[in-house]
Symmetry: none
Subunit: 125 residues, 2 copies
DNA sequence: ACCCGGCTTTCACGGTTTTTTCACGGTCCG
DNA sequence: CGGACCGTGAAAAAACCGTGAAAGCCGGGT
């Protein structure tokens, strides 16, 4: 097999202010700001980076290893539960802000998937 | 300001993310994700690996020994029913997600064959 | 220097989910 | 009938995760 060359040309370096949306969440990485229905959430640095990392890849399953590399840097050591702990923290804050949405889904053995999901407040059945 | 050029050179066949299709199934091995008509299926690691192994060789009959080597690693010991059990689990989940297709076909004495097949839900008669 | 408070890391327990294994019951022949 | 083969529920064992809380870090204020 040969090589693969990928060339990306961006019209300026100046980052078009990245803004991520998910459900009624609005995430502004540059600013370190998260809005839930307009209301600002108070997240720590780790919480924020973790949220951003997942939101950037929403809909896909991301392994703990990937998340650790992206947010913490370096390799996830076996037995290190940092990612889980912060997912838990994040879930709490999101739950508090937006009680009827689930954002972070666990895929046992694979990792986590971020995807806003309407709650069954919609009265199924 | 000018432009920003990013060049990436990969030494081997670029990891085009492998994606397998079968009927209305979409399988993304890298991510451990399966979509059935867009909806994410929830599979365990074994279920997923088994599905991927079969989908990679769809249309062919694969022996239990082959499947075991590929998914579990090591040799299938006589009397070990793991493959059958997981085929059963997989059939259930696929059936639930896509009621009018059969994917996994048994070839007694030989093994299993994976191939999407429209069911007669189509109302013949 | 000392204390305080917030953030991060680590530890540990307990609940869940997955994987493995067992066993019973069908089916398809000769 | 008897044996090989397969489907599958369920128990047992193992792996995996959620989370409260202890412990470590660090900067700011007094």
């Amino acid at each position: 097999m040969g090589v693969c060359i990928v060339v990306a040309v961006y019209p300026e370096s100046p980052e078009l202010p990245e803004i991520l949306y998910a459900g009624e969440l609005e995430i502004r990485p540059e600013e370190g700001l998260v809005l839930a229905t307009g209301q600002a959430l108070t997240l720590s640095v780790r919480e924020f980076e973790l949220l951003a990392a997942m939101a950037r890849r929403q809909g896909t399953i991301i392994s703990r290893g990937d998340l650790y590399r992206t947010v913490w840097g370096g390799e996830l050591r076996p037995g290190d539960r940092s990612v889980d702990v912060y997912v838990s923290k994040l879930r709490n804050k999101l739950e508090t802000a937006l009680p009827d949405r689930r954002f972070i889904h666990t895929h046992p053995g694979f990792g986590y998937r971020f995807q806003p999901q309407p709650s069954r407040n919609v009265h199924i059945e």
